[in-house]
Subunit: 205 residues, 2 copies
């Protein structure tokens, strides 16, 4: 499928479509009109039609969208029809929580190891915690798609070259910093403290 021309805004909306369609499937809804999906998602029906047309227009006049088909197609576009091998850099509370969260999703994202300066720190999980100095050799033996980074800024920056050399393709960054990475590496950052500041701003204005 040719998605080169798809804007970032549309890409950012796709996971939300996916979430709503998942809810509809849980409720055994088989088909839905763009008008009804529009009402539930609080976006215009024309935006929905426009967005979904970009991917080949899965709707049919007078029928609407077949929920499970659309769910599956959007899943494929998002790359959810395959497995990902993940590691987590850090083994503190945030690292563990994100690791568990990924596990909950049960969507082919498999957390296989944690890496920490102090691998003795946490032993309550079935997923192994290795010393950070073994990261390079681990990656040589265990092809890894995604690294979750949940360590302080300084440590986060220093781990990027090791991940890159080890063939990791994507970084899910929770560190309080913007990571500079080579062009072939993808970073998606979750800046929790910035989100909290936006909330405090809104409360005050």
């Amino acid at each position: 499928m040719e998605n080169k021309g798809i804007s970032k805004a549309v890409i950012n909306r796709l996971p939300r479509y996916y979430r709503y369609l998942g809810m509809l499937m849980d409720r055994k809804t088989e088909r839905i009109s763009s008008a009804e999906l529009s009402r539930q998602m609080n976006v215009t029906a024309s935006q929905i039609r426009q967005d979904l047309n970009l991917f080949g227009g899965f709707g049919q006049q007078g029928y609407g969208y077949n929920v499970s088909h659309l769910y599956e197609e959007i899943g494929k576009i998002l790359g959810l029809d395959r497995e990902y091998h993940l590691i987590v850099i850090g083994a503190g509370k945030l690292a563990r929580a994100v690791g568990c969260y990924v596990g909950f999703q049960k969507r082919g994202f498999r957390v296989e190891a944690y890496f920490d300066r102090d691998p003795e720190k946490h032993l309550t999980d079935s997923i192994p915690v290795y010393p950070l100095r073994d990261l390079g050799s681990y990656l040589r033996d265990n092809p890894t798609d995604i690294a979750v980074i949940a360590v302080p800024a300084e440590a986060a920056r220093s781990v990027v070259p090791v991940l890159d050399q080890g063939g990791v393709r994507g970084i899910w960054n929770f560190a309080h910093t913007d990571l500079e990475v080579p062009e072939h590496l993808t970073v998606q950052s979750v800046h929790l403290s910035e989100s909290l500041m936006q909330l405090s701003y809104k409360i005050n204005h």
Copy 2:
């Protein structure tokens, strides 16, 4: 200060300015030009000048910006010059991690209680865990600014009216759902699974 005309895009950039200025303060940098800040933050100098001018233009020709002054002013705009009383709905791993994370920030965001259906579940923290059914009476006795929601979607939706009636002003939502709230309540959502899907999309395209 009159901020009514400030766009959402600028507001979204302010926490990032704040973060960079904080790093500069850590490095004992006293002043910085828009050109240098631009280089470090990877945005244009003219955007920096334009953004900061909106708040009264803290820069001086030929001198640049006084780092600690600008840091303090942006902090005030973001509402970081006061204290917030927080509670966390949920006491699972994600709830605990977010609660701890907020604590780390040491910026006047004080987590004072967790609420969970099963308050016996976790006892390792110095912050109390109360039964969820006591939420209403807690809020009557303890004015609370912000509620972090880290429970499943269904439970998240059902807790909103209690928070609203209890005078909570902002919700930091980690539940896998969009929350409908009355207009006087502010919601800031962190949709972790959508962020992960955006990463998997980018890895595949």
